[in-house]
Symmetry: C2
DNA sequence: CGGCGGCTTGAAGGACGTCAAGATTAGTGG
DNA sequence: CCACTAATCTTGACGTCCTTCAAGCCGCCG
């Protein structure tokens, strides 16, 4: 288990650059980059258990750019693991203004914040071609009562989301926010086997700005300045981190403590 | 169950104004304002189950102003329900600056965000005289595998915390933040049987400001202006809401959608 | 009474948003 | 392959909301 990964499975649609993707998994080898990978990998979880977990998963996709995996106010029934592509979660207030809540890479879970209100509190929108795994939540909860490791993993995932949501709540400067954003992405890409210093932003500047609660113009300006200071190299949506320690110093307050 | 409440149990220390407090509970009548009240109240949860839940709870307190219920980086072992008084959670960065993460009233749960990192990611500090219930988390998790309602309630509590943490992340104005803060407090007090329009702020202006990511001076100024506009009446830490609809209009973007 | 912490009030400065225009890229169809 | 258009991104000038700094006020407790 957890052997190799990155089985290319995108249609030849627009797959130019290598694209993060989790392998498909089968009865014995569960999606290795999935949020539940650690559960499966845990000793003591036999083939039977793995089988049970696998049984309640439905693969879905492809979703294309702009498609919704779920929409706000839909009745909550399942959580989703991104299997390929990038997903953004967002709300739209009644004046029509968008608020980006997060970006989600392969292996990450979305929909956890829907448990409480029993309906999705946000839209989940594909930013490129996206595949997901759908976990029926009632079935998952039932399984969790039988397999403590699954329950523990759910608690862990939920708790981690609280921490994540807390991060951006601080009153950080544009520089700090952007540095933390870039380092965060880099780390998540690295965890999936990609370069930790060079990657392509899937989302528009406006989305980044919105997520960081900045104006799009500010994002442009800060990226420009970072480049002038030789912290990064920017070419459109391609980013290269040149001075990680300096960025880390900037982001320090947000990322670590 | 859920019969009467508000058994005064504070020492005569500084109990001048009526103070929110949850009743103590016994084997059959569990703390009625506790975060787990709804679980106990749920039909189908027999006396035996209630007994089991009650068994893993330890009462603790009194904590006095400034005391810590738990401290950052302590190993995670339990979540806590506030039973009386007010608790603030906060972090202190390495430059010594405080960041207030939340205020917690009786019946509310703290420590949920510690599950993931397996250690508390913040301090929990008593703002006045505080009593708490301590729920050993391993024991609770074990119980949750036996009683689905308990598991469900834990999922619900965790999920709700994600939503709460998300709220303040938006780029709201000082007016919007303060209006939402006051209405939020009012609602939570009301849910505990207290006036929804008049209450006493337990925390200092500086704490409010810090929590809302504003300067203390800004909080002063906005409260002053709210008073001039006849939205509220302020007398030191005593607050009266005079024009709830207007406040709601201000806070609308933050509170509801 | 005097001192101290919490709160208020005023004036000045800064960081970021807004507005507006231009540059670059991507997408489309001939 | 090349217009042509639309979307995205950049850059500059200006305005605004909030912070910062500084001083004064009030209530509390020794």
């Amino acid at each position: 288990m957890m052997t190799e990964m990155m089985t290319e499975m995108m249609r030849s649609d627009e797959s130019t650059a290598p694209n993060p993707i989790a392998d498909d998994g089968d009865e014995a080898h569960f999606c290795s980059t999935c949020a539940f990978g650690r559960v499966c990998a845990a000793e003591g979880l036999g083939k039977l258990d793995l089988h049970e977990l696998h049984m309640l998963v439905e693969h879905a996709g492809p979703y294309h750019e702009g498609d919704a995996i779920f929409r706000i106010n839909e009745r909550f029934g399942a959580i989703y693991a991104v299997r390929a592509g990038m997903v953004k979660t967002r709300v739209i207030d009644d004046e029509g203004r968008e608020q980006v809540l997060g970006f989600h890479l392969p292996g990450e879970m979305i929909g956890l914040n829907a448990i409480h209100p029993a309906k999705y509190p946000c839209d989940a929108i594909a930013l490129d071609t996206v595949y997901v795994c759908r976990f029926s939540f009632p079935a998952l909860a039932t399984l969790a009562t039988k397999i403590p490791d699954v329950q523990q993993e759910l608690f862990r995932l939920l708790s981690a989301d609280i921490g994540r949501a807390t991060q951006l709540a601080g009153d950080w400067s544009a520089d700090e926010r952007l540095a933390a954003f870039l380092l965060g992405l880099a780390k998540r890409y690295a965890a999936r086997g990609f370069s930790a210093t060079a990657f392509r932003l899937t989302m528009a500047r406006a989305d980044i700005a919105n997520y960081l609660r900045l104006a799009a113009e500010t994002v442009s300006r800060v990226l420009r300045r970072f480049q002038d200071q030789h912290l990064i190299h920017v070419d459109g949506r391609d980013i290269e981190l040149l001075d990680v320690p300096a960025l880390r110093r900037l982001a320090h307050g947000i990322l670590h403590e």
